[in-house]
């Protein structure tokens, strides 16, 4: 089933998109109609009739999901399954051409040569002014001044079309011709071209390993792809072009000699360590600028005109070859983000970090697959499944070994012939350590259950300890004054600030996290139970007294039920806070749990997995809250009506 979902995700997405669009339009229609009918009811009319606002909920959800599908290219994937592959071919051409376009004002504002000239000239000027004269002898200073002047000369010489290398000009002309040739080839008819078998066997767009298949699977793709190898050759040739005329070569040699000479300090100068450091740093800075210029990558501005024109032609031809694909790209690929990256094309740009709906489903189905052997689950644990839990383990968890140590008597010793007869204390220790066979019970298992378990156990302890204490604090001045400072001292500290301390003390296993969550739940439960208990009306307590109830009975039968609304609200808040704290604590340390999955996913930048964990957490939080709302409605129907 999980494979089937994976394979047909585009179809599933298409159905979902259509359903969403239909329900969006439908809910707007119904909503507007109902709003007109009920305009007055919202404030003054029958509150029962204002309850039904499901159409607006549907409208909002559909809008959100449709935007999601749009920005994560879900629509494109479902309706134009080959578009990304074709755009990948375009991306390949563009990548092959990138050494050429990098030299031109295509993706930048200036020619690369212009940038180089301006930046280096500015740096040379700055260096000339800031020369540390005290560390150089007069002769050295003269040399430096000469070198700087020569560097400026070199910049001027390289920028001058009259003094440029004739060999470079002809090489650039060859590049220009080749590019024009490619532009012409892109215009040819591609209907006859057939994709290779190998290309058709590639995994489809959007399986987890391959984002967008790289080999062309359409005729148009084959045509665009066919120019890529030639483009790579042209780019190679372009990179080899150097603008070094004989005059420039001479000047470079001279400057090089001066700079080499400057490397060893003048023996007449007495330099301390700091002076020597400053001297070497300065000479090195001049040398560094020079080395940027001596490889002849600066060309006169006009020499690039031809190449620029040819590149423009290639772009025009590419746009022509794309044809209708261009419309699809501008409409359904927001972000302009198909780029080639190593052996495949990937989705970049604004849509990159969004969860792709279909991939989210695929990632989730892999996670949810309980069969660990076939690659399901995550890091050796299922998402949510069941297993046999030995009862002995539960008992070992509940009984600390120390309890057995405290019993009278001592543990057994080995006998004269080396045999060991366990006494009662040894046997009890075996039980406390889980070394007995008591059978097994079926138990939930998996990352979700581990997280749930921690929250539920912590909540259980929090309620068991917090509610009675809170109620006593609500009715007794002693309890309130004695415990209030303790709780108020630790409660304001953010739970996560306690986490490093508690995880260090208890270790990264369950007990540390449970204790941390217990601290959170306990404080909230105490405060809510206290508020509820102290809010009991005096007349109710007096009425119970004159009905013959004792103090204990009043506590149990009047004050506790009276505090129930606050207690349950406390539980609702505590579960939410615990859940938030737990996920963060699992990110700090641990080997299972939802937070753990997300943290590992973060380290490998697995966007889909991160989103899946976020969605699971959101849904579980929502589930908790719905359960609590239901419980509140069931347990305290009188709330707000007393």
């Amino acid at each position: 089933m999980f494979d089937w979902i994976s394979d047909n995700r585009a179809l599933i997405a298409l159905i979902v998109i259509i359903a969403l669009a239909v329900s969006f339009v439908f809910s707007i229609f119904v909503g507007v109609k109902q709003t007109r009918l009920r305009a007055k009811d919202e404030v003054f009319g029958d509150p029962e009739r204002t309850k039904g606002g499901w159409y607006w909920a549907l409208c909002g959800v559909s809008a959100l999901l449709l935007i999601w599908f749009y920005y994560s290219w879900g629509t494109a994937r479902a309706v134009f399954p080959t578009a990304a592959n074709e755009l990948c071919q375009v991306a390949k051409v563009k990548e092959a051409m990138s050494p050429i376009t990098a030299a031109l004002p295509v993706e930048s504002r200036y020619l690369k040569s212009t940038t180089l000239v301006v930046r280096n000239a500015a740096q040379v000027d700055k260096l000339a002014v800031s020369m540390p004269t005290q560390v150089f002898s007069a002769r050295e200073q003269a040399k430096i001044t000469l070198a700087v002047a020569q560097i400026k000369d070199l910049l001027a010489m390289l920028s001058n079309p009259q003094l440029s290398d004739p060999g470079a000009a002809s090489a650039l002309l060859a590049v220009e011709m080749d590019l024009q040739n490619i532009a012409a080839r892109l215009k040819s008819d591609y209907a006859e071209l057939q994709p290779q078998e190998e290309a058709l066997e590639q995994p489809k767009w959007g399986t987890s390993e391959v984002e967008i298949p790289i080999l062309p699977i359409t005729s148009r793709g084959v045509l665009i792809d066919s120019v890529t190898p030639d483009m790579q050759e042209i780019a190679k040739a372009f990179l080899k072009v150097r603008n070094i005329s004989p005059q420039a070569k001479e000047l470079i040699a001279e400057t090089k000699a001066i700079l080499a000479d400057l490397k060893t300090p003048d023996p007449l100068m007495q330099l301390n360590e700091a002076g020597e450091g400053a001297r070497n740093a300065y000479v090195k800075a001049v040398d560094r600028i020079f080395k940027r210029l001596d490889d002849g990558t600066i060309f006169p501005a006009t020499s690039m005109d031809g190449v620029q024109k040819a590149v423009d032609e290639v772009f025009v031809s590419l746009t022509d070859a794309k044809g209708s694909l261009g419309i699809v790209e501008s409409l359904f690929f927001p972000g302009d983000g198909v780029v080639k990256s190593r052996t495949q094309c990937t989705e970049q740009g604004s849509g990159r970090w969004l969860p792709k709906p279909t991939d989210v489903i695929a990632t989730f189905s892999t996670l949810a697959n309980p069969d660990l052997e076939s690659g399901g689950g995550y890091k050796g644990t299922t998402l949510l499944w069941w297993k046999w839990l030995p009862i002995a383990d539960v008992i070992a968890f509940l009984i600390p070994d120390g309890l057995v140590d405290m019993l009278p008597g001592s543990y057994g010793t080995h006998g004269d012939s080396g045999e060991f007869k366990p006494n009662y204390k040894d046997r009890l220790l075996a039980v406390a350590q889980g070394d007995v066979n008591l059978g097994s019970v079926p138990m939930l298992d998996g990352h979700i259950w581990d997280s749930l378990f921690r929250v539920l156990v912590a909540m259980g302890f929090g309620i068991l300890v917090g509610v009675p204490l809170g109620i006593y604090m609500g009715v007794s001045r002693f309890f309130k004054s004695f415990f209030d400072p303790m709780i108020e001292l630790y409660r304001p500290v953010p739970p996560l600030a306690w986490a490093p301390l508690i995880l260090t003390i208890f270790g990264i296993q369950d007990d540390g996290k449970i204790f941390l969550l217990f601290m959170v739940a306990f404080a909230i439960m105490v405060i809510s139970a206290r508020t509820g208990a102290s809010g009991t009306q005096l007349s109710k307590i007096r009425a119970s007294h004159s009905l013959g109830a004792t103090n204990g009975q009043i506590l149990r039968h009047v004050i506790l039920p009276n505090a129930m609304p606050e207690i349950l609200t406390g539980v609702r808040i505590a579960i939410g806070v615990c859940w938030g704290t737990l996920v963060a604590a699992e990110m700090l340390a641990g080997t299972t749990g939802i937070g753990f999955i997300e943290n590992v996913a973060r380290t490998v930048s697995d966007y889909e997995l991160i989103w899946v964990t976020i969605l699971i957490m959101g849904l579980l939080g929502l589930f908790f809250d719905l359960v609590m709302r239901w419980a509140i409605a069931k347990i305290i129907p009188w709330r707000g009506k007393g």
Binding site: Q537, K540, A543, S546, L547, H557, W638, G642
Partner: protein
Amino acid sequence: MQNTTTHDKARDAGLVCQLQEYKRGKMSDLYCKDLCMTFADPMSGSKVEALKDIQFNLKEGEILTVLGPSGCGKTTLLNMIAGFITPTSGTLSLGGVDIQAPGAERGMVFQQGALFEWLTVARNVDFGLRMKGMSEEESIELVNFWLDTVGLQGFGETPTYQLSGGMQQRVALARCLVNDPDLILMDEPLGALDALTREKMQSLILELWKKTGKTIIVITHSVEEALLLGERLFVMAPRPGRIHREYNLPFAEMGLKRSLREIKQEKEFSTIREEILTMIWDMEEEIMGGV
């Protein structure tokens, strides 16, 4: 057929009650002698004499209403009789036993009912019995009998928050009566009800008084109500709180036979009403003038 059975059961339960009454065999009169209550403000040290030298006896089966301007100590007096607060000096005893703490022999009905909204009507009514350790099965007959008596047949399983104000007070009455107290204290029991419901409830209180023969003390703000319900009537005066004037009235006895509205038309009724209204009016004037 079924109706008859219920009715029989109810009658039997009533008999049981009367039998209990009979068996007790002792007069439970209320004695109140030299009762003083002084509230001290711990911050300023100033003292307020809420009640001073209150002295009266109430025989078993009498119904007493207490009137007075705000702050004359009516509720303080009632709270002391209930045992919620301890008097500064003086003696207070019911049936020869000193009142030290709240107890089931002195039932209390509050202005707002003070019902337990998390329980159903029946569980509210049998609250006192359950606290004594009686099981629901044992108390069910008594509960049904008293629910019938206050006019709430079939409301046993209704949550109290679904009841109207008048019905809530009926539950409060039943809850108090099922405990079989010697003395019933009512602190402005009908204060929060509308005029019509109030009149019905006044009849109900008189009816219950007649039926059960309980001693009842009713505190009220309404002069008419005090006249209609009270066999005896105290008008209290403030600063210090004291009994200003006592009346013995025939209207409660009349109210058992005739409609309350008719009684209100009586010449005698309106004369006493005007007299008391003037009295209280003057007291209020005095307080306002004094400030």
